[in-house]
Symmetry: C2
Subunit: 417 residues, 2 copies
């Protein structure tokens, strides 16, 4: 067994002008990690012949497995396939099973197939074709000087299908890898440097094969232990001892010992207690509801939301009175508490969240600056509200409001159930 | 003037194990493009001394400007600062203005400052310190062999502040660059290969300094022209001629000739007509409302949403009857039409969107597979519904439902106003 290193090369000008955020690489990295492969580099290059060629040369110096995504479309800007053909010294041939597959796709869609589509079935004669059941561009595997090169389409759902169904299952043919184990916990209410002081002894006692990382985000800090080894049981036993120690040390600030987002921590808590929740959202505009419902199975605990972006909706549906708005304003303790109790009542849930604030860049006044947010959480007996001041960009203010609202509900559920 | 190439090196194990998606690089790429700098590579490396060192060596062979983000925190896993100090042959010294700034931050927060925080004020003596008004880790600028290296913190809002306020303004001191111009349009209702056939003549007539890219996403295709040159007026004139030609050629499928997302196309259309909208969302769980409200100024046209995730909310708030659900099910034309007219009526808006579908992975039946979605749009006179079948992952199904619902409303507004 050996430590196996990989690199991901993503191809496309859109990645270099900032038009597209690369979400493929993160997902691929996770899949590689699961089978014990360590990602050394992720590199993005444009649709430029020399740059792609150079990246292949350079990465093959450092790693044994090179995954390439993008540039396989039927249009002229996509040059990956002819480049790989030349790089590995092959010639283009029609791959009959791919041609049949492409033809079948167009028949099923009841669309005429044009030359451009048929060209998708041309592949270098020195590659192993990986059938792409989700699209017309097949994956391709090349071997050179003991290194494995795999080219995949850049369309995320096609790439993911190929990774899960073709690439990952064939890796053991080529490499005998070790194991990688991660343990992650999330803390809230303590800054990164204070956390570092608190866990100093645990950190210094870590053996060299276990690494600790700090991941601050949305005003919370995630801690991650990563270990690599060749004996899986031994490795798990060892990382678990240090992880227990870490958990114990930060227990006052611990949100979860799983690598899951805040909304799932709340969802799991509700599910476990057989309780439900709803939201009344002004400034977050449905984002909290979206977070809750982006996870399968959320219908077990998430009932719904009233997004009262316009103040008339706060009055018409959430029983906020014009007098209240006139006297204290919509960004106020009174208004969020009213929103929280109203939505709890209307949706007949066990818990509710309500938010009202100024996300920016406009809408601020002298007394109510951008980032000022009132958040309330409620159950039938009790309503609690808290004031926050974020003062970042609109997007970040929305995210911070959502995460903190969910954390407030999490604490409220634990204290009031 | 010259073509100036840059690379971005992002540092952090979290990028290589897929725990974090790199959104920094895309934003930085856009900012560099605006001042005429071409990004050649984006490379992610772990918190590993040799890998960072190698990346610095490698990138400085290819480009004149190297931007480095990440690894500047106060914790032990962050090694960028000592590494840069050694790489550029300096020694660490206390930087008094930074120490004053860090002290001031802790005073303002009313928190005790510990050694670890004071260490943030140590910098290599051979760098130019770039003050970070958003945090404790300063930016650092180094020069070596005519190349410029700039190290920035990885925390997005700190990095962005430093880029906008320190880095971008000082670039003209170092480089006389050319200009980059982009023109982007969005099409809907035509596949990538058919679009390519349609615009073949326009594509073949493009001069070498103008590149065309196809960016398929959410069942729609974005086309982008990119040009580089040294005479800005000339460049704009030339790219606009080709862009007009392109727009004219695809006009039947043209959604917008701006580089903006679908929700902003709809928002702008509503604003221009002085109209308002609301949504009734089941399967998208508030995602459409979130998209609409993620843009500043959306209160001018977006009123609110009823997220009826639980069927009881469809009945209680949106007047869907139990009989209808029993006879045709919640994923049906009747139900979405009822939801659309109800929310229009309740929120007193000019237009509404309603969606009901099965996002998966669970919830499917023999007649109603994962990805089956009914979408309705309405105004006071008319309600139109359409059936879609997406059949991807939950996340992608939600996104596709939202984009297609917004496109349906866009067409509806244009045809019925």
């Amino acid at each position: 067994m050996e430590k196996v290193f990989a690199s991901i090369i993503t191809i496309g000008d859109e990645l270099l002008i900032g038009q597209v955020i690369d979400t493929n690489s993160a997902w691929m990295a996770q899949e590689l990690n699961k089978i014990g492969i360590i990602l050394k580099h992720r590199i993005a290059v444009g649709d430029v012949w020399n740059d792609i060629w150079q990246a292949l040369d350079e990465e093959s110096k450092h790693v044994s497995l090179i995954l390439i995504t993008g540039g396989l479309g039927p249009t002229a800007d996509d040059i990956t396939k002819p480049l790989l053909c030349e790089y590995f010294g092959g010639r283009m041939v029609i791959h009959q099973p791919t041609l049949d597959h492409v033809t079948h796709i167009f028949e099923k869609l009841n669309r005429p197939m044009i030359d451009r589509n048929a060209k998708q079935a041309e592949v270098p004669d020195n590659c192993t074709v990986l059938k792409n059941e989700r699209g017309t561009a097949p994956g391709m595997l090349f071997k050179k000087d003991g290194k494995i090169f795999i080219s995949l389409p850049g369309v995320p759902h096609e790439m993911k299908w190929l990774m899960s169904n073709q690439v990952i299952p064939m890796i053991p043919e080529f490499f005998k890898t070790g194991f990688i184990e991660h343990r992650t916990l999330l803390t809230a209410g303590i800054g990164e440097s204070f956390l570092a002081e608190m866990i100093k002894d645990v950190e210094e006692a870590l053996p060299p094969q276990i690494k600790l990382a700090y991941l601050p985000n949305s005003g919370m800090v995630r801690l991650r232990l990563t270990a690599f080894g060749f004996d899986k049981d031994e490795l798990q036993k060892e990382i678990d001892i240090h992880f227990q120690l870490l958990k114990q040390t930060v227990k006052e600030f611990l949100v979860t010992d799983e690598d899951i987002p805040m909304e799932l921590v709340v969802g799991n808590l509700l599910k476990q207690k057989g309780k439900s929740m709803a939201t009344a959202e002004s400034c977050t505009g449905g984002y909290i509801a979206h977070l809750m419902t982006s996870h399968a199975g959320s219908s077990a605990y998430f009932t719904g939301s009233i997004v009262s972006y316009d103040n008339k909706i706060k009055k018409m549906l959430l029983h906020v009175t014009e007098e209240t708005i006139q006297s204290v304003g919509v960004v106020s303790e009174t208004v969020v508490k009213q929103m929280a109790t109203s939505v709890l009542d209307i949706m007949q849930t066990d818990y509710s969240i309500a938010v009202s604030g100024i996300m920016g860049p406009g809408g601020a006044t002298a007394e109510k600056p951008v980032g000022m947010v009132w958040i309330a959480v409620a159950n039938k007996e009790k309503t609690v509200a808290k004031l926050f001041n974020f003062r970042y960009t609109r997007q970040r203010n929305i995210e911070l409001t959502a995460t903190n609202a969910l954390n407030l509900l999490r604490i409220f559920i634990m204290e009031n159930s």
